[in-house]
């Protein structure tokens, strides 16, 4: 029997949302349509005829009630909600002539999305510095502490890089 579901693992960094959308669109063109997504990067696809789907990701942190209204609005506008990956929401729509292929139709709202991601990252960044900042600087007598220090430092570096990438994306959008 032919497989109807395919599971794939793929890692995307926080600043690669557009690359992720493109990848999902290419998968659909090959007949693999996203049916669910779960951390840290598991994508389940249902196998069917190839289709020209447009995939779009939004980032929202809101209350349950607000989310229902938000999803209703997307549904009314023809967007199918496929699933969530932490605060990332996955939507798709069949590409049709004359219809907008964007969930964000102006620069301001695109910037606002990246600012929401930045706020979240910034919060955790700050938290990490508060919790581990002292630890990185102090000498600890046990050798395994070095490994932890290196790990924390690495995470901090990735966060720093992510924040820079997102800030650059916002700057680039502002120039449009």
């Amino acid at each position: 029997m032919e497989k109807t579901k395919v599971r794939k693992f793929r890692w995307f960094w926080v600043w690669q949302d557009e690359a992720e959308e493109n990848w999902l669109e290419k998968m659909s063109q090959k007949g693999y349509h996203l049916s669910s997504v779960s951390p840290p990067g598991f994508y389940t696809f249902s196998v069917a005829e190839p289709k020209n789907y447009i995939y779009r990701l939004d980032y929202q942190t809101f209350h349950k009630k607000d989310k229902r209204e938000y999803l209703q609005l997307f549904h009314d506008a023809g967007w199918e909600h496929i699933g969530d990956f932490s605060a990332w929401l996955y939507f798709r729509k069949e590409a049709k002539q004359g219809e907008t292929t964007e969930i964000f139709t102006d620069v301001e709202s695109k910037i606002a999305k990246y600012k929401r991601v930045l706020t979240y990252l910034g919060f955790f960044y700050f938290l990490m510095i508060v919790i581990f900042g002292g630890r990185i600087l102090t000498d600890v007598p046990y050798p395994w502490c070095d490994a932890i220090q290196v790990f924390i430092l690495l995470v901090l570096l990735i966060f720093t890089y992510a924040i820079i990438r997102l800030a650059m994306r916002i700057r680039q959008l502002k120039k449009l």
């Binding site: 209204e69 999803l71 609005l73 506008a77 964007e102 139709t105 102006d106 709202s109 606002a112």
Partner: protein, 108 residues
């Protein structure tokens, strides 16, 4: 005057915000606003659901629109008096812009 300060804070409205506010002269829910914006802008402006949700959020928090009905997970909004004032200031700004534009249009 308070309204003058308000106007300065919110103006100029983005094109999407302007048309969304124009639509909300009567109570409408989200998708109806999207359709109306496309219609009254003669197809020049289309508002995606992500953009609309953000604008609703901002306008409601600023007290420029208010929720008047909630039905089947669809909220309907309409302009508040404050919203009307801001919209009016924007229309006047646009009038100056297009008025000036029209005086030179023949020379372009």
């Amino acid at each position: 005057m308070a309204t003058g300060d308000d106007a300065k804070r919110y103006l100029p409205l983005t094109e999407a915000t302007y048309y969304i506010m124009l639509s909300l002269i009567e109570p409408l829910h989200g998708y109806a606003v999207m359709q109306k914006v496309e219609q009254i802008s003669q197809g020049t402006v289309k508002v995606g659901p992500g953009t609309l949700y953000g604008v609703f959020d901002t306008l409601e928090a600023a007290g420029l629109i208010v929720m008047v009905k909630e039905e089947n997970r669809r909220k309907s909004y309409k302009l508040t008096p404050k919203g009307k004032k801001i919209l009016l200031s924007q229309i006047k700004r646009l009038e100056i812009m297009t008025g000036k534009g029209l005086t030179v249009i023949d020379r372009l």
